[in-house]
Symmetry: C2
């Protein structure tokens, strides 16, 4: 690799790390490219030699967050044998913990909108979709007869339900609850939902 | 009532109706008090003779939205006899429909933050809490032995789960689904959750 390319890559990493810290500390609203340029020691305009635009910057930070979330979910899955229902419940609690520990970065995943007229890039959507594999795995074991499309819908519903409980719980707007209560609720609701769906399937059979 | 007081009350109603329309059309970000003043035919500063500040204005519009939501939920409850599980499921679908039909006003309920250092007024919190009665009623029938606190936590979890599914479903960010699929999913997940909790209680007994 040429020296120039190497330096550019180093600057790009510094930029993403700095943007990551900024969003972690103050959310999307706290992201100022001028301050970023100063922090990594480049001229204002030079930031846009490293990323395409602010959307690209935020999505690349989002990608780092998704990777970290993926690692956190993988870690709890590796934590020993468990029934599929237990696995889903653990994954949901790990999601809750991740959100509580990385609130700024996690919120940014949902608050960010790309500029009107632009599309979210394919690579980013693919990375989001990959995360659903964590939910998909246990669901296939529980519901072997359901099609991939049906399991996809179910995985999204489970995720959205847990996301709703975690979001309103952490926001303490409608649902002011301490974290340990929130974790218990998340585990309980996931168990109840999945057991309820198992029950429904038995009734249909 | 004095003529002056009457006129002031009429202007206040006009102001709230205009703000309601504005938020319905363009969300919280579309609310411009200068435009509001023009629409109701008062001077710029005169808006603040009618409401305390922007927070007060948004909360009063929010109160109108909550009243409409209350009416929508009451209407489906009155739509004939149903088991408690069916009632909860109908209420959740009605919530989904309300969000789909009043997206701007509904989003504003969750996006609005009062200015730092200020508290959300008691009357507004009380109105929010009253809405939980719709969920609480069927839950008392299903779980007569549970305490009011336990049922309160459960009501909030059910609401948050449904809210998550509706929010991500309507946003079409993570979960792009047509409204009829979303309604079916909401109904199914509520049934599954509640049946799952009934099952759990039987297992504990």
């Amino acid at each position: 690799m040429s020296k120039a390319l190497e330096r550019r890559q180093k600057q790009r990493e510094d930029l993403l790390a700095a943007a990551d810290n900024m969003i972690a500390a103050a959310g999307l609203a706290g992201l100022k490219t001028r301050d970023l340029a100063r922090r990594i020691g480049v001229a204002n305009g030079a930031v846009y030699n490293l990323v395409e635009d602010v959307d690209d910057l935020v999505l690349r930070v989002g990608s780092r967050t998704l990777s970290r979330l993926d690692a956190a979910l993988t870690a709890v899955e590796a934590a020993g044998d468990a029934s599929p229902v237990d696995k889903l419940s653990r994954i949901a609690v790990a999601y809750c913990d991740f959100a509580a520990e990385n609130t700024g970065l996690w919120r940014a995943l949902f608050e960010h909108r790309v500029q009107p007229g632009k599309d979210v890039p394919e690579w980013y959507i693919a990375q989001q979709m990959e995360l659903f594999q964590h939910i998909h795995g246990p669901l296939v074991v529980l519901f072997p007869k359901r099609s991939a499309v049906e399991l996809g819908v179910l995985a999204r519903s489970l995720f959205s339900a847990v996301h709703g409980i975690v979001t309103l719980g952490l926001e303490q707007k409608f649902v002011a609850v301490p974290l340990d209560v929130l974790r218990r609720e998340v585990a309980r609701i996931v168990r109840a939902m999945v057991n309820g769906i198992v029950l429904e399937e038995k009734a249909e059979a």
